[in-house]
Symmetry: C2
């Protein structure tokens, strides 16, 4: 090394530690949410995620939009939506002008059901992240956003 700075192989290790922490935090939170959903509502996280995406999208979402939004495979969404249709919380409606596509929408029942769920969910998350005040939470969120931002090729399928 000819320059004055030290040879920093500590940098990749620090990033690796960050990834491991991120993963651990995610698993912890997910395990708690999964348990509450299961015990208190007999539901699951994947179903909640689909309902949440549909609730954000006023006019419903096509299957492919859903899988993009949730970053899961196409085939995966098919199965989850199948089960939600059985429950009566969502419906598949044909997209006119394109007989290949389906638009998935919340039913009125599904919308009411989800509203209650989402309210509770927000509380659970807030409790799990109770150590962060508003400013800190926003700052961390912004920093994490740069990860998705800098790695733009996030295709799950194909």
């Amino acid at each position: 090394m000819s320059n004055a700075g030290h040879n920093n192989n500590a940098l990749p290790k620090a990033r690796l530690r960050l990834w491991l922490r991120l993963l651990k935090a995610q698993r912890l939170i997910e395990a708690e949410l999964r348990e509450k959903l299961r015990i208190e509502y007999g539901s699951t996280l994947p179903r909640f995620d689909v309902l949440a995406a549909l609730h954000r999208a006023e006019r419903g979402l096509k299957m492919s939009e859903l899988s993009d939004e949730l970053m899961v495979s196409n085939g995966n969404v098919t199965g989850i939506v199948d089960r939600l249709v059985e429950d009566g919380t969502v419906v598949r409606v044909p997209v006119d002008g394109d007989r290949r596509a389906m638009r998935v929408k919340l039913t009125d029942e599904g919308r009411n059901y989800f509203r209650k769920l989402a309210d509770e969910h927000e509380g659970w998350v807030s409790d799990l992240l109770a150590m962060f005040d508003e400013g800190t939470a926003e700052e961390l969120a912004a920093r994490l956003h740069t990860i998705a931002d800098s790695n733009t090729e996030h295709e799950v399928n194909k």
Copy 2:
């Protein structure tokens, strides 16, 4: 509201946004790592995680220690270890003094295999988190650590 401060229902929402960002970042990174492991090594993330845990533990780990460490269920570890045993990367050895328990250890082959893998893996992670310098990565890791720290009941089974 009689006090001077504003009624902060923005706090749970900020925490919820943080959770959604955390989840998105985690999925993005995991998808990238999964693809590299699959294409370049014909392996999977769960297998990598088990090998990594065993590599950190000089004397091997009992099945229950493995599932605690990885925060996954007991039965889950059984299946992954079964497949690693088939590959010849790990072995189950009886724990003497307790005929119920098994200690899982890397084979020499498994250790060599994992060393290559871990090296690459560190590089992949470092690339995905390239937007963070060492100090930032450490600071974020420390903050994320407080999540696990404040939510100590992290039993997966039972």
